[in-house]
C-alpha cells in the first residue's frame, strides 16, 4: 500500500471557495452509470460504475489561482514538500500569479495528487476513480464505448505522440458522448486511486506478485491487447507518486449524484 494514502488531512473550511469557482462548478455533466471491462483484470471481471457528475473541462490556471489565493498554504512557497515536490506550479511566474507565460484557460499542471484532491474537496467534489475516469473516457463523439473502433484508438495515440499539448486551451479537443471535453488530447489527469493498478486483488497476480506494467506482465494482465492508448495511461499512472507534479499532468473533479 502506498503510505501516502494514509495521511489524514487537517480539516480546512473551504466553503468560501465554492462561491468563487461557482461558474466552474456549474459546468458539470452527468455520466450515466453502467458496467464495462477495464484493461486490467480477468476476462470475466466487469466493473460497475454508478452515475456521477463530471467536470466538463479540466481545471484551468485561472480556477486554480483562485484556490491558491484563498489558501496560501497551497501556493508554491508554502506548500509542504510531503504534499508536492519541487516542481509544484513551477511554470507559474510567481507564487500567486501564473503570469504571461501561461494562458488562464489552459489546464493547470504541475499539481500534486494532494493538491488536486484538496481543490476538489473544497468545492464539495472529489477526484474521479480510475474506473470512473476510464468509463467516461471510452466514449467518442457519438458512442459511449468507442474502444472497438480503430479510429478511436488511433486518434488517441496520435494525441499522446504530439509534444507539449498541455499548452493548448481547454475545449480545443472534442466533446464526447457525455458532453465531457478534453479527456484525451490535452493533459494526463489525476485519479483518486491512480496507483491501484499495481496492487491487484486478482488471485493470479497475487500469486506471482508481478503485476507491474513491464514486458510480459503487461500482456499477461491485460484484457484488450489492442488498446495501446489505455496501456499508456496505466503506465503513466504507475510511474507517479502522490506528491509528483508534471508539465503534462492536470486534473478535473467529479461529484456523486445526490439521491433525493
Amino acid at each position: 500500500m502506498n503510505p501516502t494514502f494514509k495521511i489524514v488531512f487537517t480539516f480546512v473550511i473551504c466553503s468560501a471557495l465554492i462561491n468563487h469557482i461557482a461558474a466552474q462548478s456549474e459546468s458539470m455533466t452527468i455520466i450515466k452509470g453502467g458496467t464495462y471491462i477495464p484493461l486490467y483484470g480477468i476476462d470475466s471481471t466487469t466493473v460497475t460504475v454508478n452515475s456521477f457528475l463530471m467536470d466538463v473541462y479540466p481545471v484551468t490556471n485561472r480556477d486554480y489561482l483562485i484556490f491558491v489565493e484563498k489558501f496560501p498554504r497551497w501556493n508554491r512557497s508554502n506548500v509542504k514538500r510531503l504534499f508536492a515536490d519541487e516542481n509544484y506550479l513551477i511554470n507559474w511566474e510567481r507564487k500567486d500569479a501564473f503570469g504571461n507565460r501561461l494562458l488562464p484557460n489552459t489546464p493547470v499542471t504541475n499539481v500534486s495528487w494532494f493538491a488536486a484532491k484538496k481543490y476538489c474537496d473544497c468545492l464539495g467534489k472529489r477526484l474521479p476513480t480510475v474506473d470512473e475516469w476510464e468509463y467516461a473516457a471510452m466514449a467518442d463523439e457519438i458512442s459511449p464505448d468507442a474502444r472497438e473502433k480503430k479510429s478511436y484508438n488511433q486518434h488517441i495515440l496520435e494525441w499522446y505522440e504530439t509534444p507539449k499539448s498541455f499548452k493548448n486551451t481547454i475545449g480545443s479537443t472534442f466533446v464526447n458522448y457525455w458532453g465531457v471535453s478534453d479527456l484525451h488530447g490535452l493533459v494526463w489527469e489525476w485519479t483518486f486511486d491512480f496507483n491501484s493498478v499495481l496492487i491487484s486483488g486478482e488471485s493470479r497476480k497475487d500469486v506471482d506478485k508481478d503485476s507491474n506494467l513491464f514486458c510480459g506482465s503487461a500482456a499477461v494482465g491485460a484484457t484488450d491487447l489492442m488498446n495501446y492508448a489505455a496501456f499508456m495511461r496505466y503506465a503513466f499512472r504507475g510511474s507517479i507518486d502522490a506528491n509528483y507534479t508534471g508539465n503534462s499532468l492536470g486534473f478535473r473533479c467529479v461529484k456523486n449524484i445526490e439521491i433525493e
Partner: protein, 487 residues
Amino acid sequence: MKKFPLQRGLKLFTFIGLLTMFCSCVNNQKESTYEDTVDIPASREMLAELTSPPNVPRGVGRRKAKKLIVNMEIIEKVGEMTDGVKYVYWTFGGTVPGSFIRTRVGDEVEFHLKNHPDNKLPHNIDLHAVTGPGGGATSSFVAPGYEAKFSFKVLNPGLYVYHCATAPVGMHIANGMYGLILVEPAGGLPRVDKEYYIMQGDFYTKGDYGDRGLQPFDMQKAIDEDADYVVFNGKVGSMTGDNALTANVGETVRLYVGNGGPNLVSSFHVIGEIFDIVRVEGGSLINKNVQTTLIPAGGATIVEFRVNVPGTYIIVDHSIFRAFNKGALAMLKVLGEENEKIYSGIQEEGIYQPEGGGIQIIPTDNGDVVSEIPAKSLKERMEFGKITYQQTCFACHQGTGQGIPKAFPPLAASDYLNADVNRAIDIVLYGKRGEITVNGEKYKSVMTRQVLTDEEIANVLTYIYNNWENSKAEVTPAMVKSRRENH
C-alpha cells in the same frame, strides 16, 4: 673535477629510479585474473563518455574496472524519417539509436535515467547487459520530469542491446527507444583503425513509404509486422552521401551493429566485402570469412574487415527489398590507392544483351508472334501503359513515380523527363548509364534497355507523361519506331 663522478652517480641513480617506476607502472596495469567477474573490484569513479551514432566512445584499453556514471536523458521529439516525412521519435539521448555506452567487465555502472519534463510518457530502460530481473526496467521506471538512479555490475563481455520496456513495449521500441551497450573484456578488444555504430530498426507509419508530413505510428501495421520503413540509425539516408562512413585503404574497420526491431530480423551484409571476423551475436564466439550475418531483433553483432580497395561499399539488410524500397541502406566510402591485383575495376564496359539467343528480341522482329492489341485512344494507351509500368518500371521508379532517393530518379514532376521526349524514348530503348541530374539531385546508376514493343513503349511513356504532374505528352508507336531507326 670531483663533481663529475657524483653527477654520473646521480644520473645512474635517476635512471634506476625511473626504471623502477616504469616497471611498477606496467605492473599496475597488469591485472590479476578473477575466476568470477563478480569479484573484480571497481576502483574510483568515472563519468562515462556517451556518443551519438555512428560514433563510438574511446576503447577501455587497459583501464581497470571503475564505478562508471552514465547520465542518459530521454527526449521525445519530432525528427525526419526521410525527405519531407516527419515522425515523433522517442529517444535515449536525443538520437535513434540511443547513445552508445562503452564499459568493461567488472565496471559498476551507476545509471541516471532522466525523463525530460516536456515529455508525455513515463519510460524505463532494460539493458540486456544487466544481470537481474527486468534488466533494470523495474528500477528505472520514471515519470516525465523525474530521474531514476540504479546500479549494476557488468559481468559478461559482449555487445548488448538496451531498450525501453514500458507498456506498450512494442510501441516504445517502434518509436526508436533502443541502443547498444558494449562490455569489453579485461584489457579491451584488439585495436582497430575505425569503429562505427549502426543500428537497424523497423518503423510503422500511418501513410505509406514517402507519404509526406508528420506521420503517426500505426499500431495495426506494427502488429501485422508490415513495416513501411526499415532503416539504419533511425532514418533513410542517415549514412549515405555526405554522411557516409569513411575509411582508408588498408585500414581495419569494426562495426558494432545492433537490431532494435521491434519485429524484423536483419541479414546484415556489406556489398563488396567479406567480414574477416564476426563476433557472432555480439558474444565470444568468433566466426571468420562471413558474407552475411544474422542479427536477431533485440540482438547485436560485431563485424571486422580490412578494406583493401577504394570505392563505396553499400551496407544493407540483405532481405533486399528492405534495402532498396524501405531504406535499409548505408554507405562506407573507402579512400586510397587502387589495388588492381585484388580488384581490377572496369576493364571493359557495355550493356550485355543476349542477342544471339534472341529470346527477348524475336517477338518484336516477327510481327506474327506479337498478339498485341494496339491502343485506339489516349485512354486505352494510358490503361495499357499502366499495366506495362506495373510490370516493368514499378520496382525501381515506384508506384507513383517517386523513385528512390539517391538510387533511382523520380519520374513524377521530373524536369529531366519532361525536357526531352526523344531522349526518354531512347533511354527505354537502349538503356542509360552514367550520372544524370533530376530535379536537382544527382543519380548515378544503371538502367538496362527494356525489351518492349514500340506499342508498349508508346503506352508506358504516355502513361508516365500523363501522370504525376508531368507534361502530358503523348508518345505514339511511330515516334518510337523512328527513334529505333534513327539509332
